[in-house]
Amino acid sequence: MEIPWEIEIIDRPDLAGWSFERRKEPPGWYVAGPCPACGHPVDRTWPDDVYRSDQLRGPEQSTARPSDPVEIPVRCACKVTHTDGAVGCGRSWQVDLTP
C-alpha cells in the first residue's frame, strides 16, 4: 500500500541504495536512489554552472570547486501518484555528497 501524500522534511534520512555520478556535460553531479519515505526512485541533478538569461556573467559566482563536498536538497518527485494533482509523496531531505 502506498503511503499517503504529506509535506515533511526528513532529517538525516537513511540513504541506503543511493548512488552518485560525476557528469561531464553539462558538468555537475547526479544523485539517484529510493525515496527514504515511499521507496520510489528519485533523482536530482546539481550542475556546476548554469546560463542566466538576464546577464551572461553574474558577479556573485561561487568559488566552490567540483571536488568540494556538496549538499543537495532533494524533493520526492517519484512518478507514483500519492495524491491527485501533486508530484511525489511530499517528502524532502538533503543529500550530503563527499566526492
Binding site: P13, V50, Y51, R52, P73, V95, L97
Partner: protein, 193 residues
Amino acid sequence: MTPHIVGGAAPSPADLDAADRLETMSETELARIQALAARWRDGLAGLIALLAAAVIIKGTDSVADLPTWARWSIGAGILASLAASITGGVFAMLAAYGWSSGPQRVGSLTDLDERLRKWDREVCDTAAARLRTAVVLTVISLGLAAVVIGLTFFAPVRAKGEATPECLRFGLASAGSDNVTADGQHCLCVTPR
C-alpha cells in the same frame, strides 16, 4: 577520503526552492538563451528599418551640399552599418533557431544519455556565443549610424561659387569692352549651381 553519500540535516524550505529553481534553470537554459536571441533579432530588425527609413526620408538632399569626402564617408558608413545590422540579425536568428545539423548517428544506448546532454550543452554554448556576436555587431552598427548622422549635421558645407564658371565666347573684343577673356575675346560667363 572515500567518496560517499549520506543523508544530511533537514534542508530549509528556501534551500529546497533554490534547488528546484537551479534544476529548472539547468533544464531551460537553451530555451531561455534562444528566447533572448529572438528578442535581440527583433531589435536588430527594428534598427535596420530605422536606418532604411532615415535614408529614404532624408534622401540625398541633406548630403548634396557636403564635400565629396563627407558624402563618400556617409555612404560607406551607411553600408557598413547595414552590413553590421544584417550580419548581426543573421547571428541572432542562428542563436534563436539554430541551423540544421543534418542527420546525426545515434549509435548504441551506451552513454546515449550523456551524449544527448552534451549535444544540448553544445547547442547552448553555440547559441550564447552567436548571441554575443549579434550584440557586438548591433553596437558597431549603432556606432556607425551615429557617425553617419553626425556627419550629415556637422560636416563642413561646400562653399557657394566654388564651381568653375562656364563662358560663351563671341570673338575678338573691341577696345574698352567689358567681359573680356585673358586672350582678348568677348564673352558671357555663368556659374552653374
